[in-house]
Subunit: 338 residues, 2 copies
């Protein structure tokens, strides 16, 4: 499938979905739409992902099958400054895919245009109709279940999940990711965006995903969301922790980040305390230790500084750690999660 | 307002809403509908609440303004065995009020009948349309905010909230309850049923309620939901803990309960550990200590055994404790929460 990624003024740092699809999706990205970086290429900003031109608007995008909204502001609303591009995509007969809290299909103009031009509006965050409360049974499955958790939002949980999966597959292990966020659902073609579910059913949604994935795979890596000490999103995090009932946890962190992104008055606890907090909250439902650490060292220019940050992080946690994008996932970490 | 409470086969132990309205609501309860106890009176089962006859079906209910669904099965679905009573209520011109996850107004037959007989179908769990993520600002308010938390579901958090409020009011303190569940919303006439909110917005919903209540009152008692180590509902609990940013916590427990109700494989941690867990999870967002304990001793026949259970509970927590229904809320506890 050929797509364009809309990421106005946010590419690449605040465009998690766009970068996730560029890195892990099997869609062919024909363009990134970002008026702030138009004229550049993706490779000028992010390496190790598929390259594509960055353009001003839909008018500069070649033939595509779908326009994907690749950014999600806090609150998940639709920004009116994107409307012209979405309208233009529909008028060119493209489907539009979004993971916003406000659904494209509920927008009167888009719904009318989509009907007129015979396009699909795919809202990845729309939950299934038949969710219910968790039975507390995800821990009964045989395959190994690993959950990526974080010290903050946007701390690399999805990236860690995919890098762990790929490293495991290279060793011949039948590993799969359980997608719980919009990018994962887009990349995998299944899953549930857990933060959009009725709060009472969030753990039940994760339980269902884990029980499905463990039917077919030997190692299941659940993509975590939010953070346990986050002022706004901790509920989703806790629902995933208790709904997935994982065997072990991998703690993700951004090097140098000391306050919660967007909530700067809230300090991020030291990583050893944070790991301990996850383990203590997990334990009454199912014992799960933090067995490995993943740290995003993108902000550190040279590899020596990055290695030092990783060593400090590993020492703090008392478990092996890596930056999976910069240095890959080694056998020590793979052994730790099995 | 004159009402009847539907509580088939669940009254009183598993009919939290019915008992809550009987105890704290200003509605006049003309009958409880429970086919298993028809012929008894409320007073045969629960003391210290308004009395009413228990009847077989709507056919035995005198003139009322509204039928209230007073029970909520796990999952919050509508049970077909209630349909005849609801239908009959609507055909008699009564409104129907429910706090189920599945909305009465979405039921084709009820919607059609309600239109025909000009009745209102009030779904207490329907969330406001304009919720969003928390700003993390509830801790900035001046009045004292207390949150009731529990070692399990149905552990007396709502009861504790109302008993604390009433004791405070008797001392001349302007105290109010922030309702976060269906019974509280029914009793207070405002509030949000937080477990029905989109998971991402649950903390934001609580923040909004706290910021509203603290405009008008000096002591605000937030009704907690679920439990932090509950396999299914911990996400809602955590959202309330971080969304409300309380000054202190009151831990509620049921004497003798050692496993999570309905999840018997999951043990309830010892109360001192449980209090510690709440404090540790609260701390990174806002420090809040467990300053008092509330214990439901209903299962203990004599007062001496109840007092012993309370003493043991208080000693375990290291703070004052009481059974607020059996022995009331004394000044020591009121001082502790201020």
């Amino acid at each position: 499938m050929d797509i364009a990624l809309l990421a106005h003024e946010q590419f690449p740092e605040r465009a998690k979905t766009a970068v996730g699809v560029l890195r892990y999706g099997d869609q062919r990205v024909r363009a990134v739409i970002d008026r702030a970086n138009a004229g550049d290429r993706v490779a000028d900003h992010v390496t190790d992902v598929q390259d594509a031109p960055i353009v001003e608007s839909m008018a500069d995008v070649p033939d595509i099958d779908a326009l994907v909204i690749g950014i999600a502001p806090i609150g998940g609303g639709f920004e009116e400054s994107w409307r012209a591009d979405v309208r233009s995509a529909i008028e060119r007969g493209c489907d539009v895919i979004a993971g916003l809290h406000s659904f494209l299909a509920d927008d009167e103009e888009f719904a009318r245009l989509a009907a007129e031009y015979d396009c699909e509006l795919r809202d990845l965050r729309r939950p299934p109709d038949d969710l219910t409360v968790a039975d507390g049974t995800a821990g009964d499955v045989d395959p190994t279940v690993v959950l990526t958790v974080g010290t903050d939002c946007s701390s690399g949980k999805m990236t860690a999940s995919y890098e762990l999966r790929d490293a495991a597959r290279e060793q011949g292990i039948d590993a799969a990711v359980v997608p719980t966020g919009q990018t994962g659902v887009l990349v995998e073609g299944w899953g549930i965006v857990v933060d959009r579910v009725i709060a009472d059913f969030a753990a039940g949604a994760v339980e269902r995903l884990v029980e499905r994935a463990t039917l077919d795979h030997d190692l299941v890596i659940v993509e975590g969301q939010g953070a346990l000490a986050h002022p706004a999103y901790s509920g989703v995090t806790t629902s995933i922790l208790h709904g997935a009932q994982p065997d072990s946890l991998v703690l993700c962190h951004v090097a140098g980040r000391t306050a919660v992104h967007g909530y700067e008055a809230t300090a991020i606890p030291p990583v050893d305390e944070y790991a301990d907090l996850y383990e203590r909250v997990a334990a009454p439902v199912r014992e799960a230790g933090v067995v490995a650490g993943m740290i995003n060292t993108q902000s550190l220019a040279d590899d020596a500084a990055a290695r030092e940050a990783i060593e400090e992080y590993a020492a703090g946690l008392g478990v092996p750690a890596t930056d999976p994008v910069r240095f890959g996932v080694d056998e020590g970490i793979l052994e730790a999660i099995q």
